[in-house]
Symmetry: C2
Subunit: 270 residues, 2 copies
């Protein structure tokens, strides 16, 4: 990237920071966007969060996260629906255009039924999202998360779901870590076109230190990030690009240094 204008810091990249810390540090480094997590919003409180955002001029690229549509009992599914409605409300309040959906893992060892539950969950949630003016962004995860986090693990599957609903309020969030391996990745990005609602960057390092918390900084791994970014741009996405890195080592880094390093890598490797 030629500038850091589109850079957004997803809060998980600096997991140990509160929202006040995140906003302060980003303001100091002229970073214009952040991706907020709901647990952190709860910690700081919505009114205080709004005040900080307003004061700094920093905008929210997305709220993480809704979804988790798969559940064993109807009670759990109901509780989950209500939680998702609150997520939409919060996204609307902080001015985030999109709530990221992590759709939920396999329940009862039944992958087909679990995938049906995702369809049912989206169907029920979509009118709520439309009414609030917040888009729902399906983030297909890497297939290694099928069992416990998301039964939606490929771009082609996510695209099929999006096409089936055919709504301006349902789209795709693309994270390079989850999709880079897919032989159809460029075709599916083109297919997603105007439905792309977000783009997350990081890297796949070798050997992978940990499934969940072993993502790398852009440039440290094997992912062709620039090529993916270009294809996402080509498909029509011009919004913020979130740096989302779950990494135990990075979380120990001093804050300002980490943001400087991220900016460097955003310019050199995205």
């Amino acid at each position: 990237m030629e500038t850091t204008d589109r850079l957004s810091i997803n809060q998980r990249t600096v997991k140990n920071w509160s929202i006040p810390q995140l906003v302060d540090q980003c303001a100091a480094q002229k970073i214009r966007f952040v991706g907020l997590w709901r647990d952190k919003i709860a910690q700081t409180g919505l009114p205080e969060t709004l005040k900080l955002l307003h004061h700094s001029g920093i905008r929210v690229s997305s709220v993480c996260r809704g979804g988790f549509f798969t559940a064993v009992t109807p009670t759990e599914r109901e509780a989950n629906f209500e939680e998702n409605c609150r997520g939409i409300e919060e996204a609307a309040t902080v001015g985030a255009p999109v709530l990221v959906l992590v759709c939920g893992g396999v329940v009862n060892r039944d992958l087909d039924r679990s995938r049906e539950m995702v369809m049912e969950g989206i169907e029920r949630l979509l009118p709520v999202a439309e009414k609030a003016g917040v888009k729902l962004g399906i983030e297909p995860l890497h297939p290694m998360f099928t069992a416990d986090r998301s039964v939606i693990v490929s771009l082609s599957h996510a695209n099929s779901i999006i096409e089936r609903f055919d709504s301006n309020y349902l789209g795709l969030v693309i994270d390079v870590y989850h999709v880079w391996w897919d032989p159809g990745v460029f075709m599916e990005i083109a297919r997603a076109s105007s439905h792309i609602l977000g783009f997350h960057v990081n890297d796949w390092i070798v050997p992978l230190p940990d499934i969940l918390n072993g993502r790398g900084l852009m440039g440290d791994g094997v992912v062709q990030i620039k090529r993916l970014r270009e294809s996402v741009t080509e498909a029509g996405y011009r919004g913020p690009i979130e740096v989302e890195i779950f990494n135990d080592r990075l979380w120990q880094f001093p804050g300002a240094d980490l943001l400087r390093l991220i900016k460097e890598r955003f310019l050199s490797s995205v």
Copy 2:
């Protein structure tokens, strides 16, 4: 399964055993097939391996493994070709119908070029395999191995390659651990049809203890193994079914107990 007639013990399941131990224990438990690894054949020596097999009547369902076609330098690729030729020879000598191919990970951060190297490697190796009467079985690995083990990570990709070569000596080895998550898994198994050369069972446990060495015993995880086995049978595969489990905990188990447990689970969960 109603009997253990089709059960084969892949040697990696009992990683700490030599070939004499494996053959003895399988003979004692009336197990008719084994899947052998090349490092273990080297350890025991080919003549002694042949004698043990002949004496026990145990047959070899596959030899693991060839492949690793991706390499940075021409010298490495040449060395790899020769290694693969030796693998084919060994498979022919021990009477294994198939050499399992793990195709190799990404080199030079170039996924496209790495995948081309796989095509070139197969093209070069295929005449050698035909001449020896040994089939090459592409085993698509789980996408989490793309970077370091195999750039072929989906059944659809493997099927396309097999269709492109259109040879009776090139087919597919299906391991439930690698493919269970795929929304297209049943369609692709049907598509593979007479090209299925092997079927490996184990399970995906939650949470996953380790990417490489955290596979579960059939029945301990979330994979619908029976349904996959039925679809593989439906597609026409009637050969041995290898139990291949890489698991640190299982490797500490006393041998005879482990084989008894595997037989039980083969009957209850495959």
